[in-house]
Amino acid sequence: MSKSLKLFGAATLGVAGVMVVAVNFADRNIAGMPAEPQLLGALPAPEPVETAEAPQGLLVGAAQAATSAGDGKFGLGRTALPEEVAAWDHDISPDGTGLPVGAGSVEDGEMLFEDNCASCHGSFAEGVGNWPKLAGGDGTLNHADPLKTVGSFWPYLSTVYDYVHRSMPFGNAQILSDDEVYAITAYILYSNDLVDDEFVLSNENFTEVEMPNSEGFIVDDRAETEYPQWRADPCMEACKDEVEITMRATVLDVTPDQAGSEAEPAATEAAAAPAEDAAPAAAEPETAEAAPAEPAVQEAAFDPDLAAEGEKVFNKCKACHQVGEGASNRTGPELNGIVGREVAAAEGFKYSDAMMEHGGTWTPEELRAFLANPRQDLKGTRMAFAGLRKDEDLDAVIEYLKSFP
């Protein structure tokens, strides 16, 4: 792969670009550097539009102040320590640069994948709902609606390691050890039939794995295939004989309901809305007494302001959980009535074994402990969420959930 770029062919480069680069390569330490000459003053006089601003163009300048040390530096910031660079610099290049020493097997990867990835990507990397499919799609790239997976599309294995290591699991990133990332990467290869079940991936053999679509990419060629055709004087009259409507958006009808925004007002108002809805229930104790079936937790004073705070906290949960009218199971179970509900009681939801064996009901205290650190509280849960660190967030989100009895 060529790393040299023909970025600035004459055709793609405006006057401005040439001059900015020219300024940049000039000696930037000379005092009184001329203003960046790309702006209005350098352009041909515009015809039909306002010209009042043009003279100011000469005064507009790039930030090119002389530096104190005279070496192009301002003496700001500080040297990064090696530990700091090591903590943040994790990128892995296609040639394997950046890979840590380590190894992981398909066998270990299967278990790790089930625990950390399967809730969204499926046990076999086949994807759940709208979440990305990581396996399959072989040979579909030239079909209608190609299935782009790691196996069918991703050109470099380094990208898998890099991405899983820095950004997965979704909502709980950077918890996986180097060996675990090797193992999960190996399992994703296995799920795409690219290695066998005995395979162990390591920094030693990493670059030997060739991805099926590694030759499937070309560098942007619009400058050759498109621009010459379209940089032409456009037709103004009698450009075509017939014009017919060939497709209409309302036939598909996938546009969000315009009236919907009235029901879903701006965020600040939405945050307050459930509190208002829920407030009468707390303000009218008679109703609560008259309904003995209400779970005990409802007897505690309900705090609508806290619940409103909790709605914001719940944004962290929304990726996987629905609550409220019409809520259904998604990646996680629906949460209506969760405070006081039996554990693992959402109909039709496939809970982990650990959750099935838990028993009991979700009291506020139980929920609190679980949400503070799900994996520590309940080993084996599939909930890939790091937990809420702040006490006030825990209080608020539980109060919010109470507002959906």
């Binding site: 499937g216 560098v219 619009r222 940089r231 004989d241």
Partner: protein
């Protein structure tokens, strides 16, 4: 939310009522009032009592009558709202600067809350000295002001295979245009003692959020006009736009404008990260995919009339307006067609086009209740003419997803309503 009083009706209710009424006044010519207007002849409460005091709104939102001018999400598009996108209400805006509060958001792991005190920017890799800058350090470097558009590569992406979403907000709303105050990236690279070598050199940029959204940028672009922005439209960046600092990559796809930017590494080659291989690449009909398709080609759209902005006033004068932009530089001309591209007339630019920024155009015309197939066509300073969807499909096929800059058609019907259509 407070109940709407008669006067507090939303724009949408207003539009619904007026579309119906519009037919009645067709051909009415100069309006004549039958009875005196009570809004004029009776003393109105706002003319009698007090409005809000200055302490009522320390930081204001638009008045409640504009509460439907908001970012909207298309739920079926993504699995959740954490890694998702919403759309700027471009149909209801005018001018060129996008108010931050309704400028589209795209997150890969949610909009994080990162305080200035907790902010660190590291520059490492092939530099003399790896450096760490605090936010306070950034404020001490010389900075520049520039207006640039930021367009997601997927803007109009749902329209590749056909007319799909009925509204300019949804077809073209993954764009905003703000004035940035920021430090040239070349200044920061110089501070870390970058060698000055450009041949084969890249910078890898990443954000502080869990997605990190790492992207590789060729050194030539990094030195040309990239900024580390600390302000937008005069105020601190909004959380959803990368507070306290984001990268600005003028004219190039929005995914490269890394928010909450925390690290810039000078490298010998591209990382080929997830966002530049599995995403933001353009698959062609034969199954090969273009990568490094960074520049956003010239594009335009009529924002009004459009499906969310029907003609509600009956026959007579009407302002056709829209916006145009190009990642290659300035917009020099916009043409408008009312007949689906058979004939074109040149629109008026509200101001001279600016480098890699939105340009507003107007066509002040007359509507006599006839149907229009309304289109706009942008031309930039390189002579690039915005193509039709047919032209794009001929080269790229139907599976590209990204970088759809085709001419858009709105079918204006005789009752003033509009629909997103494709034409032959």
């Amino acid at each position: 939310m407070a109940e709407d009083t008669g006067r507090g009706t939303s724009r949408r209710a207003f539009l619904r009522g007026s579309v119906a009424a519009g037919g009645a006044v067709l051909g009415a010519g100069m309006a004549q009032a039958a009875d005196p207007d009570p809004l004029i002849t009776t003393v109105q409460p706002w003319a009698q009592g007090f409005g809000d005091g200055v302490d009522a709104t320390p930081y204001g939102l638009p008045i409640r009558f504009e509460e439907d001018v908001i970012r909207r999400n298309v739920e079926w598009l993504t699995a959740d709202t954490i890694s998702s996108i919403n759309f700027t209400p471009i149909h209801a805006l005018d001018g060129t600067i996008t108010p931050a509060g309704c400028a589209f958001e795209r997150h890969h792991s949610g909009a994080i809350e990162l305080a200035k005190e907790d902010y660190r920017l590291m520059i490492n890799g092939l530099v003399e000295t790896p450096m760490v800058f605090s936010y306070a350090d950034l404020e001490r470097f010389p900075r520049e002001n520039h207006v640039y558009f930021c367009e997601c590569a997927a803007n109009s992406g749902m329209e590749w295979a056909g007319a799909q979403l009925n509204g300019a907000q949804f077809t073209h709303g993954m764009i905003h245009n703000m004035e940035y105050s920021g430090i040239p990236l070349r200044t920061l690279l110089a501070e870390a003692g970058w060698s000055g070598e450009t041949e084969g050199k890249w910078v890898y940029v990443e954000g502080a959020d869990a997605s990190s959204n790492g992207r590789s940028i060729p050194m030539e672009k990094a030195l040309d006009d990239c900024l580390v922005a600390i302000k937008a439209n005069g105020e601190a960046l909004r959380k959803e736009h990368g507070y306290p600092a984001r990268l600005v990559v003028p004219g190039w796809e929005g995914n490269m404008w890394v928010k909450w930017i925390r690290r810039i590494e000078v490298m010998d080659g591209p990382v080929e990260s997830r966002e530049e291989t599995s995403k933001y690449t353009d698959t062609l009909a034969d199954g090969t995919s273009r990568k490094w398709t960074w520049v956003m080609d010239a594009k335009s759209v009529v924002t009004s009339p459009s499906p969310q902005m029907p003609i509600t006033h009956g026959q007579g004068p009407v302002v056709i307006t829209g916006m145009a932009w190009s990642g290659h530089g300035r917009i020099t001309r916009v043409d408008v067609s009312k007949d689906g591209g058979k004939t074109w007339e040149t629109a008026r630019l509200a101001r001279e086009g600016e480098n890699k920024a939105l340009t507003r155009f107007y066509l002040d015309t007359v509507w006599e209740g006839e149907e229009w197939l309304l289109q706009s066509r942008a031309i930039d300073e390189t002579g690039y003419v915005q193509p039709t969807k047919a032209q794009l499909r001929e080269v790229r096929g139907l599976n590209s997803i990204y970088h759809n800059n085709a001419i858009q058609t709105w079918w204006i019907k005789s009752n003033g309503e509009a629909e997103n259509v494709e034409v032959s």
